[in-house]
Symmetry: C2
Subunit: 377 residues, 2 copies
């Protein structure tokens, strides 16, 4: 194996696939990055047991030559050392594989020898023979992930809840995530004949959003029996699917809320953020919401140790009963509000013990959020 | 106690004095910030057992009223809560002390009650009756601190080495710091009749540099029996001095070096930085320097586990013997090089087991650095 590569391209690729590499791994081969030099491109691969990221460096980018392969081959090199050393070298980098899986890296007057491992010991990419592929506009896909993935469960007691339930049906992709105290749901129209439901680890989705730049147009979603893949231009991420069946959560949607109010989204975020300061000591981050005189929303929280806070915000419109109070986990409410881009947000309250529905205020919502109240002590 | 204050001024003051507050303190009064409202200014005070920071907020800043005191008084409030809540409020902040040392903070429609403590329990500022004061140009003082404070010892076995030895004599301030493997020394001319030598904790000096903005002209250094204070405009820092006698280190300066070379400072920093990548596994971060053919400096390091690196840099001038090699702790060398602003750096080598002298290359050095070699295995 021997090639010359542009420093920035190489470093960028190493950083991207580095996202998949855990420093805590016990398998030393997985603390490495696999480099494959083919005739006209490099493949850079990083992996842990759940996620595989593969980045390709082509010969030319925007008409400029960034890679020249003299000799095909492959090797696995220690991820952290390789990334650090490439970062500290100058533009033109020359890599040559020696015997014993070590490589010599030359750049200007600097010569580095790096001990590597046999690339034959590196785990294979998942077989995707039976896979189907769906095309989605990248920006819309990132949006639907952002609107839902935060709501998964961090607890290990129900593994399916650590994933986002992605369902393709009738040219609609729907994503649902819940930790059984709050739920986020979002839908996206697309064109596909694929029908099916899959549970995708939220970690994999979050990694994918980090890898994407704004410029990407289309993401190809590749689904096989136990893997899902995302592919866009020169980068791919493959993730194991979570096995099991996802609970049916749609029955939780309140059908006939007692009170529906609209408030300013940004103001409400700021108010809840302040109330959380005093709520964070408590077990459930209790923030109290109360409608006062049908015109004001009172936001408050208190901590016996530190003190208390209260404020009043203007209700922009109200339907239904005028005397309502409810206690919510302030952080759950903040999470939901933060993915609402619209100026106004609509809260539908069905009583002190029933889930609150949170939606964008314009009514044309493709996503909504449910939060179960905390029982006030 | 009752006052109105501009949010930004208040928050900035709380952040500044917050530097002195340790969250790990066992004395709950020291996890608080003391606020004293006087007729025409606020004093905001934070402290741990070693450092006290005091910031004053005057009534007017640049012709704009930022403070109005209605009622004098004082209280101690929990630092973290107070800073967080003030940060999340709007411009105009109204603070009023209630019974039981709680305060009510109002800002627009937001009302907060914060539980505080009796300010009478807060430790007094150090008595500075016998103090002398020295004026130094702030920028020059920060420079001399930056050139030396990094070199102190982190070990607790010799407490005096955790401080910078500041000596005033014959209108010169000299600062020396060492961890017994490396030493940094710098001098500054000033006008003072004070003569004496003091050991100042490097932590206190570092905190002071963080508090200083570029705009400050003069720093007043106040020295009493067991305290040193720094004062500039509206901010003061008081620090306990370290007791004990500082070792005499000036005898370590090499008198007749075998070889003196000059190299490009920036290039050398980059080369040592690269070599450190492979040195960090070892016990002493061994980086090898070798003069080759009187014209090249070979920089190298190796790790049996990971690999090795070597590079050659151009020697700009050389005096004395042409065949020299030495092994240094790469991080110590980097630290010294980083405070050298000059384009060229001079290394004076007296042999493989004697300290290397590192100085700015222009010869008019007010500061120098010594690093003891590592004995090569």
């Amino acid at each position: 194996m021997e090639f010359r590569v542009n420093k920035n391209c190489f470093h960028q690729a190493l950083s991207a696939v580095g996202h998949a590499i855990s420093l805590k791994t016990t398998a030393s081969i997985l603390s490495g990055i696999k480099i494959v030099a083919n005739d006209n491109h490099l493949l850079i691969i990083g992996s842990n047991s759940d996620i595989i990221i593969e980045k390709a460096i082509p010969g030319m980018i925007d008409g400029v030559r960034v890679l020249e392969v003299n000799d095909k081959g492959s090797v696995v090199l220690p991820a952290k050392y390789l990334r650090d050393i490439i970062y500290k070298l100058s533009d033109d980098i020359h890599v040559k594989l020696n015997a014993n899986h070590s490589v010599t890296i030359k750049s200007a007057e600097i010569v580095t020898d790096l001990n590597g491992l046999n690339s034959g010991e590196y785990p294979d990419l998942p077989l995707l023979d039976d896979a189907v592929t769906i095309e989605v506009r990248s920006e819309e896909f990132l949006e639907i992930v952002k609107q839902t993935a935060f709501a998964v469960s961090n607890s290990e007691s129900r593994p399916v809840l650590a994933g986002v339930n992605m369902t393709f049906r009738d040219n609609v992709l729907s994503c649902v995530a819940t930790n059984s105290h709050r739920l986020a749901s979002s839908e996206l129209s697309l064109e596909t004949k694929v029908t099916g439901s899959f549970i995708v680890p939220s970690k994999s989705l979050n990694e994918w959003t980090k890898l994407m730049n704004e410029g990407e147009d289309i993401v190809h979603i590749i689904i096989s029996k136990s893997y899902i893949g995302f592919k866009s231009n020169h980068i791919s991420l493959f993730s194991r699917l979570i096995e099991g069946s996802y609970p049916n959560v749609m029955g939780l949607l309140p059908k006939d809320p007692k009170t529906v109010i609209a408030v300013d989204t940004d103001q409400l975020i700021k108010g809840i953020d302040r109330a959380c300061l005093f709520a964070r000591g408590g077990r459930n981050n209790n923030v109290h919401l109360e409608i006062v005189d049908c015109t004001k929303l009172r936001i408050s929280s208190n901590s016996t140790e530190c003190g208390k806070i209260e404020e009043y915000q203007t209700i922009k419109s109200i339907k239904g009963e005028g005397e309502v109070s409810i206690t919510l986990n302030g952080y759950f409410l903040m999470d939901a509000l933060k993915v609402i881009k619209e100026k106004e947000v609509k809260l539908s309250i069905s009583g002190a013990v029933k889930p609150v529905l949170i939606e964008p205020g314009n009514g044309a919502a493709s996503h909504f959020h449910l939060i179960s109240p905390v029982r006030s002590s």
